[in-house]
């Protein structure tokens, strides 16, 4: 396909994470007419249909989108399942507190975060990032939490001591307060 307009539109469709329609595409290519764009879209659609690749350009409700052929779904699912997951902000904050303040009680984490962290602790335990280190001799024998070896692996740390103190990074900018600096020392287990 040596047609430059087609290539440009193809590149847009390739990069977009949602379907694009002719009108939208035209707004980014003001020197083209709507019918130029529509025709190019049809052309690309036909081309991919005849090429018998693993994906085609499909017209869906909101416009055109590249989609893989359904017979490859099982393989794609296998791949997506192992692609890196993200931690939610809440989970990351909780993990951050545990990593810097361990060994730590749930109630101390909640004091710092100001909200219930029960569900998050469960998630972090499931993901193997934290572990129960023991119980504190307090009413209710509350559980004590700490990080795991997997935590070190995920964050690419040799040991807990390699966990940077905040002031080692934030000390580079003037916004760090003394009170904060003092509480940044990671507690080593």
């Amino acid at each position: 396909m040596p047609d430059e307009l087609k290539s440009i539109i193809e590149a847009m469709l390739f990069t977009s994470d949602r379907p694009l329609n002719a009108r939208e595409i035209r707004t980014w290519l003001p020197d083209k007419t709507l019918s130029d764009v529509s025709m190019a879209l049809k052309d690309i659609e036909n081309e991919y249909n005849s090429m018998r690749r693993s994906f085609v350009l499909k017209e869906v409700a909101q416009g055109y989108q590249f989609r893989t052929q359904s017979r490859y779904a099982p393989y794609i699912l296998r791949m997506l399942k192992t692609s890196p997951a993200r931690l939610s902000r809440a989970a990351l904050e909780t993990l951050a507190i545990i990593s810097y303040k361990q060994p730590i009680l749930r109630q101390e984490i909640e004091r710092l975060r100001g909200v219930d962290v029960g569900g998050i602790l469960k998630t972090l335990l499931e993901k193997g990032l934290i572990r129960i280190v023991g119980r504190k001799a307090l009413p209710g024998r509350p559980l004590i939490y700490g990080t795991t070896k997997k935590f070190l692996e995920v964050f690419d740390l040799k040991d807990l001591e390699s966990l940077p103190r905040l002031k080692e990074i934030t000390g580079l900018s003037p916004d760090s307060e003394e009170t904060i600096k003092n509480s940044m020392m990671p507690v080593l287990s």
Binding site: D17, A85, Y100, R111, G118, D156, L166, I169
Partner: protein, 248 residues
């Protein structure tokens, strides 16, 4: 003098020195140290006139230059040619700096992702559907530290916490919690914390609840990991519950 002064901003003393060497079209292996030193100092003077802050790195280099200049003025030692050229002290770091400036330039000319070339992206709804705990995690240490900093900043903003801590005792709160449970029959964990004004009050409520669970006046259930925790009272209205609390 009525001329516009256009002062370039240099990344550091080496950057400035290199600029002077190019400007004077001199050989980096045979730097005319007197000329370069004078121009370097002139530049610092200009910065002073313009009230620009001069980083200590610039001053350190100035003293190095002056030192080399004075050494060059001394008569050559009688021992002969063993003496090292004092200019090596700046030539070597300059050469090293140049290598990396070169590399930086090459890096910036590469086909940089999201500037020159683009990759495919997975729509967020697809990602949400497939996420499971087997996956490796896409987080870095900086994000972790940033999250912690955020928490500590929030905390240091609320200094008055310490004062309100005396307002509520665990026992008082336990009675309040019992009263609510008596009225409602059962409730979700989250509901208990709806009206708490401060973090400390929240903690006291939480401690109170722990205490109630510990002495067996409240039972907790969580059907699945995702669902909220349900609190169920395990006392009747005859006052023995309050006794148990007071004795606890």
């Amino acid at each position: 003098m009525d001329c516009e002064v256009k002062l370039e901003v240099f990344e550091g003393p080496l950057d400035l020195l290199l600029h002077l060497i190019y400007k004077n079209e001199v050989d980096i292996f045979d730097i005319p140290i007197a000329t370069i030193t004078d121009q370097y100092l002139e530049y610092l003077d200009m910065m002073k006139v313009l009230n620009m802050e001069i980083a200590s790195d610039f001053l350190l280099m100035a003293s190095t230059l002056v030192h080399i200049k004075s050494k060059m003025l001394l008569p050559e030692s009688i021992d002969g040619d063993e003496e090292e050229d004092p200019r090596i002290e700046i030539t070597r770091p300059l050469l090293e700096y140049m290598r990396f400036r070169d590399i930086a330039e090459e890096l910036s000319e590469r086909e940089i992702l999201n500037r020159d070339v683009f990759a495919r992206s997975i729509p967020p709804y697809v990602r949400d559907q497939i996420e499971d705990q087997e996956s490796e995690l896409d987080v870095n240490l900086f994000q972790l530290m940033d999250a912690f900093k955020h928490i500590m900043n929030q905390r240091s903003a609320g200094v008055q916490l310490r004062f309100s801590i005396e307002k509520w005792s665990v026992k008082d709160k336990a009675k309040v919690v019992m009263a609510i449970l008596r009225e409602k029959g059962s409730m979700f964990f989250g509901e208990l914390f709806g009206q708490e004004k401060t973090v400390s009050e929240l903690i006291v409520t939480f401690l109170a609840l722990l205490e109630l669970i510990h002495i067996g006046l409240v039972k907790v259930f969580q059907p699945t990991h995702e669902s909220d925790i349900r609190l169920v009272p395990c006392f009747d209205d005859n006052g023995s519950a309050s006794d148990r609390l007071n004795n606890a």
